[in-house]
């Protein structure tokens, strides 16, 4: 409990500080609707990847293959979209919508399948998640390369691209989608047996096993969830940039892991929640946009990300030491009777 609250609190403070700082430094650009829109359009894809990794981290694992997974799903969906309903094709209105729905479902299926493979490797073969997903990262990425031969796939139907460009009520559609997913996942994690089991496995796997939780079952579903997140991210990605390429977003992997840890997820499992992730995402996005506006080099944001992560971890370290000392000083309550 203490762990969770402290992290989230310090995150909240940092986020507010960042917002204030950026607003003071460049109010004319930062505080515009345009800036808000451009900031929030980038959060969803990246955020979905982070959420996928988060679920794995809660069980003490990790999913390094999530980006490669997303790329592969994107490529498969892209092939369907361009083959049957591409810009030059003669498909009618209804047909186009049907193909779009097919592509979306396919992306989710591919994502889930890749996640399933990860789950199998981790549970049946007992390979530690870092190595398993490292291998599958190469595998999925390699598959994507083989399919596309390195060339990007473009030319999606207009109706599909609307997903990426629509702004109902001036807010990007993708943001709504992301928030909806976060709410659903939050419900799953906090109010279902599955979510409960996830936290239990992360906290103490052996105790969980002896409590009757079916570890393999839960873990496979966890990695499939991560895979589905990848599939969703894939759809959002290709809808926004109108192309699918192997190796796209490869640079998103490390920051996604960073966001999870920044957001208060304990990499050893068992602790952390979505609030932290959302806050961490907002913080990083604001810093990134802010630095962009200030004219700082785009590589500088990497330095900030890395530094932020390390700073927050160090703060947590001191926070833990401080609270441990406090516990020792608190008098023991002895219950009578």
């Amino acid at each position: 409990m203490i762990y969770k609250n402290k992290k989230v609190l310090s995150l909240l403070i940092f986020t507010v500080l960042a917002f204030i700082l950026m607003s003071i430094l460049e109010p004319s650009i930062f505080l515009t609707l345009r800036n808000f829109q451009s900031m929030t359009i980038q959060i969803p894809e990246f955020g979905l990847l982070a959420v996928g990794i988060m679920v794995c981290m809660l069980t003490g694992g990790i999913d390094l293959s999530i980006v490669a997974n997303a790329n592969l799903s994107a490529i498969v969906a892209a092939i369907i979209l361009t083959k049957f309903a591409g810009a030059e094709s003669s498909a009618g209105q209804i047909m186009t919508y049907a193909i779009i729905i097919l592509a979306i479902i396919t992306a989710l299926l591919v994502g889930a399948l890749c996640g399933f493979i990860n789950g199998l490797l981790v549970t049946q073969l007992s390979i530690t998640p870092i190595l398993a997903t490292l291998g599958t990262m190469g595998l999925f990425g390699g598959l994507g390369l083989i399919i596309t031969k390195g060339i990007g796939i473009t030319g999606f139907p207009e109706q599909f691209l609307i997903i990426g460009t629509a702004h109902p009520f001036k807010v990007p559609l993708v943001l709504f989608i992301f928030l909806a997913i976060v709410l659903i996942l939050s419900f799953i994690l906090n109010r279902t047996l599955f979510g409960f089991n996830v936290y239990m496995i992360g906290a103490n796997q052996i105790a969980a096993k002896f409590s009757g939780i079916n570890i393999n079952n839960v873990l496979i579903r966890v990695y499939m969830t991560s895979g589905i997140m990848a599939g969703l991210a894939a759809i959002l990605m290709i809808a926004r940039v109108n192309s699918a390429r192997s190796g796209y977003a490869a640079t998103f992997l490390l920051p996604a892991v960073l966001v999870c840890v920044l957001g208060g997820i304990n990499p050893n499992g068992g602790f952390g929640n979505l609030t932290g992730i959302v806050l961490a995402l907002s913080l990083l996005q604001m810093l990134q946009s802010g630095f962009n506006i200030l004219g700082a080099s785009s590589f500088f944001k990497n330095v900030i990300w890395g530094a932020m992560l390390l700073i927050v971890m160090v703060i947590t370290y001191f926070g833990d030491r401080f609270s441990k000392r406090n516990i020792e000083k608190r008098p023991l309550k002895v219950e009578k009777g």
Binding site: L131, I146, K149, G306, A307
Partner: protein
């Protein structure tokens, strides 16, 4: 004899032999001394990176920042020579190694003092180091050094011996091979004959037990990460001098290859298990696969999938054998 067969290294050696046979049967050029010397020259730096990574893995940690450290070391090493005008290769080497050492020390501080998990720390420093280098370079508007100083180029060309064959072919053993061998031997000696080496293995086997046995954990960790950093800096410089082109965008993103090599060589991700020989063999196999796909007329975009497949298969085998071994020992492990 049975003990020999149980060692992981034998399997890797076996794989290498099989590979060699397969590739040679498709393209005879593979099994030539010329090819081997070429491979040694072009990929010794990867071998050095792998040895560094292996040490970290042995201690139970993971360091993904080595590519960034290598690039920063390489760049600053060459930059120093360019800026100061002192055309001495030893200066570049010293700077590269020193930079690597310092960056490694930064890792060590976060891992050893603040007890941040190694993967997280090195993910952060990987991002920060490369980002730092690139942002600094963007200020100078130059992310490559296309004409490195002569001393650097000479380093790239340096050879131990040179044989001119009557048919015009020239065989050269590059100095890189010597450096690689030296690093491997020194590291092996450290691991086998010093307390430091023993503490590394102890930490990897069981950190808490090592602590209670009295090993100097913090000191060892500093050594490990500084050593990796130093090796990475050296390897980076080797790469830059070999290619005669220094680009700040090298290496980062290709950690997978090195990790695959070390894991293939039998090092356990949990730590405590593995050997230098295994690592060297692992690097050889990965290098052979990477370079020989071309010889076998397999398109280069198959490379990534093949490497990924190799990791999955080799790790599965290791994990499976581990499981079998554990089932044979019927002791309930209560943590």
């Amino acid at each position: 004899m049975k003990k020999v067969f149980r060692q992981n290294e034998i399997y890797v050696f076996f794989i290498m032999v099989v590979l060699a046979i397969v590739i040679t049967s498709i393209n005879r050029y593979f099994f030539t001394l010329e090819n081997f010397l070429d491979l040694l020259r072009g990929h010794s730096f990867e071998g050095i990176l792998a040895i560094g990574f292996f040490i970290v893995l042995l201690s139970g940690g993971i360091d993904v920042s080595f590519t960034a450290v290598a690039v920063v070391g390489m760049y600053l090493g060459v930059l120093t020579v360019v800026k100061t005008g002192i055309n001495n290769i030893w200066l570049a080497i010293a700077v590269a190694c020193l930079v690597g050492l310092i960056l490694g020390a930064i890792n060590a501080v976060f891992i050893g003092v603040f007890k941040i998990p190694t993967l997280i720390t090195t993910l952060g420093t990987l991002t920060a180091f490369q980002g730092g280098l690139l942002s600094y370079l963007q200020i100078t508007k130059q992310t490559v050094i296309s004409n490195p100083p002569q001393s650097i180029i000479n380093f790239g060309k340096a050879v131990l011996f040179r044989i001119e064959r009557p048919d015009g072919k020239i065989l050269e053993l590059s100095i890189y091979g010597l450096i690689f061998a030296a690093v491997a031997i020194i590291t092996w000696l450290i691991l086998k004959y010093t307390t430091l080496g023993r503490s590394i293995k102890a930490m990897g086997g069981n950190m808490e037990a090592a602590r209670r046995a009295g090993f100097n954990i913090l000191g060892t960790q500093f050594f490990i990460y500084c050593y990796v950093g130093m090796l990475a800096g050296l390897a980076g410089l080797m790469l830059g001098s070999y290619l005669r082109y220094v680009d700040a965008l090298y290496l980062v993103g290709n950690e997978l290859t090195i990790i695959a090599a070390v894991v293939l060589g039998g090092a356990s991700i949990m730590g405590g298990r593995g050997s230098i020989i295994g690592t060297v063999l692992g690097v050889s196999v990965i290098t052979i696969i990477n370079t020989s796909l071309v010889l076998m007329k397999i398109p280069s975009y198959f490379q990534q999938a093949v490497i990924g497949m190799i990791i999955v298969v080799s790790v599965s085998i290791t994990a499976y054998r581990q499981k079998v071994r554990e089932r044979q020992v019927r002791v309930l492990d209560v943590d």
